[in-house]
Symmetry: none
Subunit: 241 residues, 2 copies
């Protein structure tokens, strides 16, 4: 298809929007590609300038395109759809989507855990934990900011450098023989704080998803993570049968 049908009862702008949406959804027009200028779309599809503008508005409102003043109209990256029923790994998830994952460790310490963290991790307050904050990127674009706590005595040898090279779950599996058996995640809509927004290259005070995760290996809590995911780049999905 990809042609305007003048006998159809569907409005012309809607047909045009559909044709463009199809090009975007099937990947013929990739993210951040510039769309042809309005006059060119008029010629290609034999429609008026008003029809093209209405189609563009429809596509913009539905999150398929974005405009940059003076530069043109571009294909918007689609939101990353995160399936909630699979065991989550940022690294694996991004690879599956054909993106190159990377992590930047913005903070790394070993400290005595607070009562709050001890409570979450079923440890005693004062026991030592790693606390590190990682900015997770996909194709160099910041996507999530995660602060993770790991029991220090049980897993010696973790360093910030290592975490930038090797996925956390691989470090735990390969160096410590950890087999993850359960994960519990909590999702709460929040506003991005200023320091988070800066790292995420996102606007402060905009909707984001706070994700809290506890990962278990048998009875042992291996990991407690509190993350913020950009609300414009992620959506979460669950299918129940």
């Amino acid at each position: 298809m990809g042609v305007i049908d003048r006998k159809s009862r569907l409005p012309l702008y809607y047909q045009l929007a559909d044709i463009i949406r199809e090009k975007i959804e099937t990947g013929q027009w990739k993210e951040h590609t510039r769309l042809p200028p309005e006059r060119e779309l008029c010629q290609i599809y034999g429609v008026s300038r008003a029809t093209v503008r209405q189609a563009m508005q429809d596509l913009e409102l539905n999150g398929y395109i974005y405009r940059e003043h003076g530069r043109g109209t571009f294909v918007k990256p689609s939101k990353i759809r995160q399936d909630l029923l699979g065991f989550y790994s940022f690294t694996e998830e991004m690879k599956r989507l054909g993106k190159t994952p990377s992590s930047r460790v913005v903070d790394f310490t070993v400290e005595e855990c607070t009562e709050k963290v001890a409570g979450k991790m079923k440890m005693n307050a004062g026991e030592r934990v790693y606390r590190f904050t990682r900015l997770r990127l996909a194709d160099e674009e910041p996507m999530m900011l995660e602060t993770t706590y790991i029991p220090f005595e049980k897993f010696p040898g973790i360093t910030g450098d290592k975490l930038e090279q090797i996925p956390l779950y691989d470090v735990l599996a390969n160096e410590h023989g950890v087999v993850l058996t359960m994960a519990e995640e909590r999702f709460v809509p929040v506003l991005t704080r200023e320091n988070e927004a800066e790292l995420l290259e996102y606007l402060p005070h905009t909707p984001s998803m706070m994700i809290e995760r506890l990962t278990y290996s048998g009875d042992l809590i291996v990991e407690y993570t509190r993350g913020i995911a950009r609300g414009d780049r992620f959506e979460y999905r669950v299918v129940l049968e």
Copy 2:
């Protein structure tokens, strides 16, 4: 622990908000407890009035505290934890939590469906659908606002009155023999719009969860719902094994 760290790169207000959140989450400060007045918090934590105010604003926006004019600031009751791996029914869920569920139908029409809704429901644009908006309450407190579309020809006899008396899934099961076989839900953090906030008795432009749901009976899409859940009253949880 419980102390502002002036050497930290974290902003003071953020540290203070974290300390108070910890007191709330660990139950040291119970729901509906009044917080110490601002000037007292300034003294205890050695921070300025502006810092205390910013921390309070952060806690309020994230649903940890509420203010009552002339009375002070109080700990908000904790959120309703919604498990994502069970088949969702607002009515059943609230009963399970010992709350009395009710629904107020704020809008009810039968209309030709738009292209967007037709696309979601795999119907033809122009086919008739019920469109109704329900405010869902628990113990008379507004919790969610849901707009639902149901194919009209397939399920005659649904009325607004009926929906205030009988849960939707009971109407579909009892009057139409519908057996639900699958549900697909999508979660996106959003800001509450003004008209939504008014009905939800919630602040506009605050974090909320947008939940989009498609419910199937075999191949038939029985229901398409787009709902807004108060971000201060719900959290969503998933456990993976």
